[in-house]
């Protein structure tokens, strides 16, 4: 089957040492739950879910503990039954070392499920299906955790040419998709069938890097069965050449279909959508079994003697997980994800979340500190390695010099931070760090600028309003009695009199204006509609606004790869 598929090439890429054998020797094992499960409410791209439980409450396995906030968000569930001991700020599995709101559950050991019902997606409307998946907390499990229900939308045309299942898994060390495909190929394909239906996709291309022959074999058998049952040949397993980052969504789409989806465009506009194989598995569990996303396969590898894949409940501490695999004594760090793109964890006591495809234990020996950074000699190795056809060294110059506008001109935001450029750089420059820095600065500036624009607008509006009020008031005063005239004269004198210090002057003017306005208020109603709202109403309106802004802002950094 795979021989028939024409493959395309993407530019650049590297071939690092893969180190995948260690963790594929043993089948998937189920990791025991930690004594405390720390489940962050915010585990996906999009809005921060609202907590639905309070401390002291008993929860069942699969019970929703965080409700999706609007459509661009995803629910969070209790991974097992137990008691909520706290809803509080806990350290996040994030390089920043900052805390965020988490539900802390003490498992009761009974692992008692809530009631489960399969979802009949065939008789439900697409919107209902998407809402169901949102509330089941299904997100992309390739690492980018983009809410799956948002992507299960065939777009304007109502149908797609190709559904791509991403089993390429190009990062070294990580094998969670590999073992999942080996052991649960049928389930994955059942999920794929559902997705294909929802997307009205013509064919399903399952891209697997050719260094995973077992997974390819297993998936081919399963695909043949599905095709036979359906009486067509829509499912195709395609072996793609092993080259990092072939598992990047855009790169895989390019390899399988030749289509290049530009930055900022939806792939459905090009008739193609891409999901991780783990996501297909989760979709099946949610729809056919009624089980929300509670756990995932996590590779524990690196500086451990017992590297293996585990099925891990979300909220499990990485420390407990690592302990299962006999970490070597010189271990000095924990990385979430692979060695090319993974995030350095601030501590090993952070929970496994939906984005945790791999817990990589590091040591000085395994990941030696990079040699000293030398100046860039513009050798162009990075440009040769860049899978996005960028000029990394140019972006580096401008990011380093903080000339962000120029960095953007060189398409900084097309960078997927795959790390290829830094990997090949003979000067050992931490290129990706410069891009991350530049990107977050640019986002911050953008937000600042928007805020300043709003402030300017509102300030100008206020000046306008004050001017108008002053005129109206002057007209009224003129019509009033001599006492009124006297007062007006006094006010005028006040305004023109040079004050001792500007602060005092400003203060006086403010108070005077306040008094005047207070009087005026009795006679006339403010034309402004904002002041007619109660504070609660206003607060709510603004809180919604704020959340929207937050979503927009968060959606930007994470739209990377492996959806």
């Amino acid at each position: 089957m795979s021989a028939l598929q024409r493959l395309f090439k993407f530019h650049g890429g590297v071939k690092p040492a893969y180190n995948k054998e260690a963790s594929t020797g043993l089948p998937i094992a189920v990791a025991p739950a930690s004594t405390l499960l720390v489940i962050p409410l915010h585990q996906s791209i999009g809005g921060m879910p609202r907590p639905l439980v309070k401390a002291g409450e008993r929860v069942l396995k699969g019970q929703r503990i965080g409700g999706a906030d609007g459509n661009a968000s995803s629910a969070v569930h209790a991974s097992t039954s137990g008691t909520v001991v706290a809803v509080e700020m806990r350290l996040m599995p994030h390089t920043s070392g900052l805390a965020a709101l988490c539900v802390v559950i003490e498992p009761d050991g009974r692992d008692e499920w809530m009631e489960r019902h399969p979802f009949d997606y065939r008789s439900a409307s697409p919107t209902q299906t998407r809402d169901y998946l949102r509330d089941a907390g299904v997100v992309g499990l390739g690492g980018a955790v983009f809410p799956t229900h948002l992507k299960l939308n065939p777009g304007k045309q109502g149908k797609l040419d190709t559904l791509v299942l991403n089993g390429a898994e190009c990062e070294p060390f990580i094998t969670c998709d590999d073992v999942l495909m080996r052991e649960r190929a049928e389930t994955i394909l059942k999920g794929a069938v559902i997705m294909r239906e929802l997307l009205a996709a013509g064919q399903v291309l399952i891209g697997i890097e050719d260094n995973k022959p077992e997974a390819i074999a297993a998936m081919e058998i399963a695909a043949r069965a599905v095709n036979q049952a359906a009486g067509d040949s829509a499912m195709k397993v395609v072996a793609v050449p092993t080259r990092y980052p072939a598992g990047g969504a855009k790169q895989l789409i390019r390899v399988l279909t030749g289509i290049e989806v530009p930055h900022g465009k939806r792939s459905t506009d090009y008739g193609v959508q891409c999901f991780n194989v783990g996501t297909a598995y989760a979709v099946y569990e949610a729809i056919a079994l009624g089980q929300p996303l509670l756990s995932r396969i996590v590779t524990v590898a690196g500086n451990v003697s017992g590297a293996r894949n585990y099925e891990v409940l979300f909220g499990t501490s990485m420390r407990d997980l690592i302990a299962l695999c006999d970490p070597l004594p010189d271990s000095d760090r924990v990385i979430m994800g692979g060695p090319m793109m993974g995030l350095l964890m601030p501590s090993d006591d952070v929970p496994v979340v939906k984005a945790t495809n791999c817990v990589l234990v590091g040591s000085k020996k395994l990941f030696p500190p990079p040699p000293p950074e030398m100046p860039c000699i513009r050798c162009g190795e990075c440009a040769k390695a860049c899978p996005s056809d960028l000029q990394p060294f140019e972006m580096y110059w401008f990011s380093r010099a903080r000339i962000f506008g120029k960095a953007q001109e060189y398409n900084l935001f097309d960078c997927i931070e795959c790390g290829c450029c830094a990997y090949v750089c003979p000067s050992h420059i931490p290129l990706v760090d410069y891009y991350r820095f530049a990107k977050s600065e640019i986002w911050a500036r953008e937000i600042e600028k928007e805020a300043a624009d709003v402030a300017r607008e509102r300030y100008e509006f206020r000046l306008l309003r004050e001017e108008r009020e002053k005129q109206e008031k002057a007209a009224k005063l003129a019509a009033k009695t001599a006492a009124g005239r006297e007062k007006a004269a006094a006010a005028l004198a006040e305004a023109t009199k040079p004050a001792a210090t500007p602060e005092e002057d400003a203060k006086k003017a403010l108070i005077a204006a306040a008094l005047e306005r207070a009087k005026a208020q009795k006679e006339q109603v403010h034309p402004e509609n904002v002041s007619n709202l109660t504070s609660e109403q206003q607060a709510e309106v603004d809180a919604i606004e704020a959340r929207r802004a937050e979503i927009r802002e968060m959606a930007k950094p994470h739209l990377r790869q492996d959806d």
């Binding site: 390019r254 506009d269 990385i335 060695p339 993974g342 030398m374 000699i377 000029q391 060189y410 097309d414």
Partner: protein, 340 residues
């Protein structure tokens, strides 16, 4: 602790520079064979000067000494200077040129990676403008005695007249200027004359050595094919066109490619990444432009070889070339797709 990626390809500036030095060896061997071991003296002189100057500048600029000193970039500059200067130039000429290259052209502009101009070519250009006569005295093919060359380098300039001769390019230039002698050009480039069959006796073999080294660099993926191909092809086409038009006035492509520093330039000089263009199309334009300028300066200019000036002129243009030749990034090229 660093962020991702956590492991790097075992590559370094040092290994790049070392392989460049290795690639120069065949050319140097041919040089010694045909023109004597004087060139080795020059290489040592330039290398020592370069390292000392580099160390002093690094110290003054407060940079880590050993790290940068061992990157090999100063040695590459030094060797290129030695190979482009006459091998019987007085010692101070080489030393002064190397000093200018390292101190002015490299460190005053910010050191490794920051120099807008190729340091070796800056040295050559400065020295040929300052001391045109000394920079035009090349050893005779038949006067390769090391002792004589040693004397020429370290003091006794009187013996010079006996051991120097015009380079093929110089001879060509002289011939071209004189209408009465133009007919000689055939003889100059012919089979029997003082010179070799293609680019002048000895010269063509040195060029062949550089070519060999260039192939090695290509194989090692230190340089891409763009620059050498564009440089050599452009030089070939432009000189071929003019030679066809008037063979009595213009030398043909064989001569242009295999004489002077053309081959060295094609593989080792225009390919300097720091001062050159970096985009694929930009490299073609950069090297092609350098070849056109080289030919123009060789043919109509005031100095024997035009490569240094050509390369420096293109260095100035490199940022502009890069700006206008940015390759389309992923998804922005007009292949398949585009919104339906």
């Amino acid at each position: 602790m660093n962020n991702s990626p956590y492991f790097l390809k075992p590559a370094s500036v040092q290994s790049v520079m070392l392989r460049v030095l290795v690639a120069l060896l065949p050319g140097i061997a041919a040089y010694v064979w045909f023109f004597g071991a004087g060139i080795l003296v020059q290489i040592v002189l330039a290398s020592v000067t370069a390292l000392v100057a580099e160390a002093v500048m690094l110290k003054l600029r407060g940079k880590p000494l050993m790290l940068f000193l061992s990157d090999g970039s100063a040695l590459v500059t030094a060797w290129l200077i030695a190979l482009t200067f006459p091998s019987i130039a007085p010692w101070w000429l080489t030393v002064l040129g190397t000093l200018l290259a390292i101190v002015v052209a490299k460190h005053l502009y910010g050191g490794l990676g920051q120099n807008p101009f190729n340091p070796a070519m800056v040295a050559f250009a400065l020295m040929i403008v300052a001391y045109p006569l000394l920079m035009s005295q090349w050893p005779r093919v038949d006067a390769t005695d090391f002792a004589v060359q040693w004397q020429a380098i370290f003091g006794n300039r009187q013996i010079l007249d006996a051991v120097t001769m015009a380079t093929p390019l110089d001879a060509l230039r002289t011939v071209l200027r004189d209408p009465e002698q133009r007919a000689m050009i055939g003889g100059l480039l012919g089979t029997k004359a003082t010179f070799g069959n293609v680019g002048g006796k000895g010269w063509e073999w040195i060029a062949a050595g550089y070519f060999l080294g260039g192939l090695y660099l290509l194989q090692q993926r230190i340089i891409t094919w763009h620059m050498p191909a564009a440089f050599l092809a452009t030089l070939c086409v432009i000189s071929g066109a003019f030679a066809l038009h008037d063979p009595e006035r213009f030398a043909g492509p064989g001569f242009q490619l295999f004489t002077g520093g053309a081959m060295l330039a094609a593989f080792f000089i225009v390919t300097d990444p720091v001062s050159g263009a970096t985009t694929p199309r930009g490299k073609l334009i950069f090297a092609g432009g350098a070849a056109v300028l080289t030919w123009i300066i060789r043919t109509f200019g005031a100095y024997p070889d035009g490569i240094a000036f050509a390369v420096l002129l293109m260095n100035i243009a490199a940022p502009l070339i890069d700006m206008y030749t940015q390759p389309p990034v992923f998804g922005h090229k007009d292949k398949r797709g585009g919104p339906p």
